[in-house]
């Protein structure tokens, strides 16, 4: 009896902690964006966006005013199931990005750790990485067909190389002093990789994931434009065909918001993981 109460209160305190952290996150993220200094710029800009088409200074068929875009967004959400499209895109995006992170960070660590592995593996990646990810679109469509695997693979490809190379570079540049002092205490190579190389390059790794997010979003739009019948990129492309400019604007703004949100998430992760760097 008391045990279950105990575990309940434990669960409650964990939940409270999670909610508090989420609260901190949104406070910090919104705080980065909506400072008073920036709001004094933002509000006039939004007002101009609303007023210029309304007053006829610019053609309102080419530049839909803010309110129309907002209405379009609402209509898309309620009538077209825009939220499920966003969710659809995000599933692909996170699959691709997750695979890239899972693959690139260990390979980067191994390459930075050992010269003999580096010599065998690095030239391959150096040969493949200059191929721009969009150039992979035709062959992936043939290999995987149109759909989730192909889109995931393309996003993976876009995010993989920046994470790999940055991780590898940072790991390779690990201060030999730290390695020496850990080895003198008796660290095995595995311990060195997990506790020294990795943490020494954590800042660069997080930075590289940010680059990976940016590249992955680019590839998400391209992949959805070329293959598939769902997702934000598809709607964007479709809007072009029917000349629905306000829908395009909604899609663009959504993509921008997603990118901004993910970068903020990573900043939060960085603060949590690299506390020791913040004090400097």
């Amino acid at each position: 009896m008391s045990k279950s109460i105990n575990s309940m209160s434990k669960l409650k305190s964990v939940l409270r902690l999670i909610f508090r952290e989420i609260g901190y996150f949104f406070k910090g993220a919104a705080g980065n964006l909506f400072t008073w200094e920036f709001i004094t710029i933002l509000i006039p800009l939004l007002a101009l966006w609303e007023l210029l088409p309304r007053l006829g200074v610019v053609n309102d068929r080419l530049v839909p005013p803010l309110s129309e875009v907002a209405v379009t967004f609402w209509v898309m959400v309620t009538q077209r199931g825009f939220l499920s499209d966003i969710g659809n895109s995000m599933v692909k995006f996170f699959l691709g990005l997750g695979l890239a992170i899972i693959a690139a960070i260990p390979i980067g660590l191994l390459m930075g750790w050992n010269i003999s592995i580096r010599k065998r593996v690095l030239p391959l990646f150096q040969m493949l990485s200059p191929i721009p990810p969009p150039a992979w679109v035709p062959i992936t469509i043939i290999l995987f067909g149109v759909g989730l695997p192909m889109q995931t693979f393309l996003i993976f490809l876009a995010a993989f190389y920046p994470i790999l190379f940055n991780t590898y570079q940072a790991v390779k540049d690990t201060d030999p002093r730290y390695l020496a002092s850990a080895r003198i205490f008796g660290a095995s190579e595995l311990t060195l990789i997990l506790r020294v190389y990795f943490w020494h390059s954590i800042g660069a790794i997080i930075m590289s994931v940010k680059t990976g997010i940016a590249m992955g979003l680019v590839m998400l739009v391209i992949a959805e434009m070329y293959g598939g019948r769902t997702g934000i990129g598809y709607i964007l492309n479709e809007a072009k065909d029917y000349f629905r400019i306000s829908q395009m604007v909604v899609c663009m703004a959504t993509l921008g918001m997603i990118g901004w949100f993910l970068i903020e998430v990573l900043k939060f992760v960085e603060i949590k993981l690299a506390v020791w760097k913040v004090g400097r």
Binding site: Y178, A182, I184, F185, G186, A187, S188, G279
Partner: protein
């Protein structure tokens, strides 16, 4: 007991005008260090004393000669013939000669090392730093925290257990490095200019701390320094290195009873004898021994 037999270290370097050159960092140094003593390796910069210390600790392989700690060779010397080279390459294909093992934390020798710029891990708190060293030495999880606290108390860092090294002053960081080195209870501590980066007052304080801890633990200390006063105040024996090539110039036993006074006439006399061994060549901007 540390025994260095005819240790030499040669480097090849590339000059600014893209010609190659050979440098003799250490030439044929033989040295025996008894247990429980404090030995200072003293000399002007560039005399190979730090390289020699790293060879003692197994962080660099000697080109010739060998180092034994309690009869066990520290690192095998580098290959000199082509045939040896092939064997060496094959043996150390994946793991470098410096590595301990792939998966098991196990030190090769019972030594700890302290560096000039501390080399405490900035991503771990004070407590984690010490506990990590204990973990590497295979101390069971339960005992680690208690043991770490004991040694952190000895250096007076119990108030900053949860701080990161970047939040500490230079002197406190060096105390942390000292606590980390002592916590694994090594037989030998190697120190590479340990107090060179802190101010004079802190340095004297740290020296007193070091002597106190040495007295408590009876550890052997081999210390590289370019500060004659520090060497005189701390050590039982001063080994003077001379540059170009780095080799032992002279050895002085310091027999003054501890606790010593820094202004002891005996020490000052020895100091002038040591300092008179070197002259500064202002044309070549380097030290040479007489």
């Amino acid at each position: 007991m540390i025994e260095a037999r005819n240790v030499s270290k040669f480097f090849s370097i590339i000059n600014e005008d893209r010609t190659a050159d050979g440098v003799t960092a250490v030439l044929s140094v033989s040295l025996t260090i008894e247990d429980g003593k404090i030995i200072s390796l003293l000399g002007p910069s560039g005399c190979g004393k730090s390289t020699f210390l790293e060879i003692l600790g197994g962080l660099q392989a000697p080109t010739e000669g060998s180092v034994f700690i309690d009869g066990v060779q520290v690192l095998e010397p580098l290959p000199s013939t082509r045939k040896e080279m092939e064997v060496y390459r094959r043996k150390y294909k994946l793991l470098s000669p410096l590595a301990n093992s792939m998966f098991k934390n196990r030190p090769k020798h019972d030594i700890a090392m302290i560096f000039q710029d501390y080399a405490v891990f900035p991503w771990m708190t004070v407590l984690q730093n010490v506990m990590f060293a204990l973990k590497l030495r295979g101390i069971p999880r339960k005992e680690r925290e208690g043991k770490a606290l004991v040694y952190l108390r000895k250096v007076g860092l119990t108030d900053s257990l949860r701080k990161y090294p970047s939040q500490l002053s230079g002197g406190m960081r060096q105390r942390l490095a000292l606590a980390r080195a002592l916590s694994v209870e090594p037989r030998i501590i190697l120190m590479d200019e340990p107090f060179a980066a802190v101010d004079v007052l802190t340095r004297e304080h740290l020296q007193d701390d070091l002597l106190r801890l040495w007295d408590e633990t009876g550890v052997t200390i081999v210390m590289v320094t370019h500060d004659t006063d520090e060497a005189l105040y701390l050590s039982d024996e001063i080994v003077v290195f001379s540059p170009n090539p780095g080799c032992i110039r002279n050895r002085f036993a310091v027999n003054t009873e501890r606790p010593r006074r820094r202004s002891d006439p005996e020490l000052l006399d020895l100091k002038s004898r040591i300092n008179s061994l070197f002259k500064y060549d202002s044309i070549h901007e380097s030290w040479y021994s007489i």
